[in-house]
Symmetry: C2
Subunit: 141 residues, 2 copies
């Protein structure tokens, strides 16, 4: 018999808020959790692992749908893992693009702050740069 814990304990041990856990159950990301006589949800070790998996995947920016796919893959370990690989690769591409555009933004903000350090809004580059796309130092989009 594995130990069963409450939703509060699950929340604390996985770092997922209580309402979020209930939400995950509601949308079927966690299968319906068994209840006590008093109608309280109980979590065994497997549920906790699944919850930790979800949390980690969310932190890495995977969408709920992608996580759903990853979870079904996890449930059937004899499948080829090309789907998981593809999902991770797609995510990597997204992340790389985001980094590029954030780097461009960083440069722009630096330039803005520099030239904004004196004077008034009338000649404030923050507004100028944002108002006129052509002044971007990098073609990030």
């Amino acid at each position: 018999m594995s130990k069963k814990v409450s939703i509060g304990d699950a929340s604390r041990s996985c770092g997922v808020k209580v309402p979020t856990i209930r939400y995950y159950e509601q949308i079927g990301l966690l299968s319906a959790l068994p209840r006590t006589e008093g109608n309280r949800r109980t979590f065994d070790a497997g549920d906790l692992r699944r919850l930790a998996f979800i949390r980690h995947a969310r932190e890495l920016g995977f969408e709920i749908d992608a996580i759903r796919t990853l979870l079904t893959l996890q449930d059937d370990p004899h499948q080829p893992c090309s789907s998981a690989d593809a999902i991770a690769r797609a995510r990597l591409a997204e992340v790389e693009q985001r980094i590029d555009s954030l780097n461009a933004l960083k440069t722009e903000l630096g330039v803005m702050i520099e030239s904004c350090s004196r004077g008034q809004v009338a000649d404030c580059r923050v507004i100028e740069v944002l108002a006129d796309h052509r002044q971007c130092t990098h073609p990030h989009h």
Copy 2:
């Protein structure tokens, strides 16, 4: 007299979807746009500039509230631009942090994908890493 254009033209020239423009007007990010006799919105050069400003700021990751502040600064050019500067600085710090965490994430995804054996899910590092946070190469969270 400046030329007046339709919402469709504004959309095409600024790269903001028509319903989004209407939404911006609704939440007061664009002030109420003048209408034709037939009740159609008209946009002059200033409106287009403002819209481009908003679009650009959104792309750079500014929240609507920050943009609102920036716009009020733009509307009153006799203010010192220390507020805009503060917003830009806060934004820069945020952006730098986001870049850091995305770089850590990129590394992690890269390692995951690299070491995926392309075999079965059972040996797939992608799923394994997601299931166990301790395997993270970097403490990104």
